[in-house]
Symmetry: C2
Subunit: 346 residues, 2 copies
């Protein structure tokens, strides 16, 4: 199986080599353009969250302010799924893995009777609703073990180039929230260090974060698989192995931040109960802090969900937000435009 | 035991709070000054390594060169012990741990009969020569478990402020190699992203890397201990636990680079057999690469060792350097000045 996957990946890698080289040569991660407007947060309505963000940034960047924070401590962390891009009806990485399983299925007759492969191949929605973390780990192994991270990322880029979201029929990378792109650019312009801290796969997010968010791979902290160092054809390579290494979700977000960044953030943005500890850890530091949760309350332009979903569930976090003064960003009320490809609301 | 250590650390933390705040407020990690000279590598003799470094940097930064590398891919990694600062007669972190054990000994009568504590308390050199990794883990637990990383770093800073190296009677942070400081500043000035990849403790190195090397904590990848997220007095904290998490040595350096940085370096600097895989991984990429090993061959000004030591042993690496064209930096021949506090040789 691994050989097959590696071969498959190697083919994908070769096919993508030219495209990837271009992406990397062209991508200027530090110069992702802000909105073409004098207002760096043009896609935000002039409601409380925008005002709070600006007040916070002014306070921590003004050398005369009692809340001043030196540039090297201006750490800000963003969750990815549901905070920076759409995560419904299922996480994009799940869709990627499902598509890959279906593509690989002809070479794996044994999958026709083995779960969770069977359910994916047959499109068994009832089973997929009960989908567990163990199932996810199996699928990530089946579609990634044996690859180098570079091969894995090339395969992801390959998929992202052609896959379309079922609702909008656009590439998944078109479904990043314009207000958040503006926010990241705005914070960068004020010397914040922007990190993504994601429960999703670290390599999956790194595959597109440079081009789409302007965030280089070393600023992406995510859930990772085991790796081994191997000598392949006289070369030293890192190779993905079956099995999880580190889960960057819930308390794992605080641990990932400490391990990877080594400083407590002064601002954090999330959208689900998996972000609670990241916000709590951020808020437990001294001095002025900013903690915000994106609230998906816009069924017309996107989705509406809180406790009633397993994908980006925001339930306990709603109560905690009230209790601790974390700000809810209402997608419906606070965001003028959701996606760059849409027109702003009048 | 843990309570004692935490209390001890908490005291140290409080004592250091003002000093640390100053360090962080003043430290401009991105502006560590180069040597006061037109030559950015003034402490290097004009021998092969210096010429190779300059030729490499020119080649990968000239947009017209076939070896051009975009700024966002200019990753350079440095080992720490023996590459950036002195690591003899023993690793500085070992000295730190030994000193701490002696300081804590009065509260631990059981250590008088238990190894490796007994040997440290008694200064038993024969035992310490046979010192194992398991011993080291025991000591790191005894001196760090139960602390937050911030408390741990404050304790390290506390020690570094007063400890003196037995040979030169200066602070350990004075024993960083001036040529390497210049090299890091030179590379940064050409838009390289400088990372430290150390077999030493990640938190130990982070405690001084900002001030001394101009490298922020998120650019330090190192060996780490297990951590847990805990709620302490209503606050969310990361707490060090007994037990190792990840060893960033040998093959672990390539894995650490992939996990933390996500890109293969184009240049790597080490000094020991523990750096072989880092150099091999670096050299296994396409395009122009630079791999160098500091050769400790200067007993007069520093130390001379190759296969005959357990601390920074360079043995297999000597053969590999010849075989693969990695450059040896001869401390004696290639470095004009070793330390900033010394006068340059006439």
């Amino acid at each position: 199986m691994m050989k097959t996957i590696t071969t498959m990946a190697a083919k994908g890698f070769k096919a993508l080599a030219v495209g990837s080289a271009l992406v990397f040569a062209v991508a200027a991660w530090t110069t992702v353009a802000a909105a073409a407007s004098d207002d760096p947060l043009a896609s935000w309505n002039d409601t409380a969250p925008k005002q709070q963000i600006i007040a916070f940034v002014d306070a921590v960047t003004d050398p005369g302010s009692p809340s001043f924070v030196a540039p090297d401590r201006r750490i800000v962390t963003f969750d990815n799924d549901g905070t920076l891009w759409v995560s419904h009806p299922i996480y994009t990485q799940f869709q990627y893995v499902f598509d890959l399983i279906r593509r690989l299925a002809p070479e794996h007759p044994e999958w026709r009777t083995e779960q969770p492969y069977k359910a994916i191949i047959e499109g068994d929605r009832a089973f997929l609703k009960q989908f567990t973390v163990e199932d996810a780990v199996k699928l990530v192994n089946a579609t990634g073990a044996g690859m180098t991270p570079q091969q894995f990322e090339a395969a992801v880029q390959d998929w992202l180039a052609t896959a379309r979201h079922p609702r909008w029929n656009v590439a998944y990378t078109e479904l990043v929230y314009q207000p958040m792109l503006e926010l990241m650019a705005y914070l960068r312009s004020r010397d914040f260090k922007v990190f993504i801290v994601t429960g999703g796969g670290q390599s999956f997010v790194r595959a597109y974060a440079g081009k789409v968010y302007g965030v280089p791979p070393w600023r992406v902290v995510g859930t990772s698989v085991k790796t081994e160092y191997e000598r392949v054809g006289g070369k030293g390579e890192v190779v993905r192995q079956p099995g999880a290494n580190m889960s960057v979700n819930g308390p794992g977000k605080a641990l990932g931040i400490n391990g990877h960044i080594g400083l407590r953030p002064i601002a954090a943005f999330g959208n689900s109960d998996g972000d609670i500890e990241m916000l709590e850890y951020t808020g437990s530091g001294d001095g002025r802090r900013l903690m915000m949760l994106v609230h998906h309350d816009d069924p017309e332009r996107e989705y509406a969900y809180t406790c009633d979903t397993k994908i980006g569930r925001l339930c306990k976090g709603l109560d905690l937000a009230k209790e601790r003064g974390w700000t809810l960003i209402s997608m419906k009320r606070d965001w003028k435009t959701l996606f760059a490809f849409q027109q702003p609301k009048p």
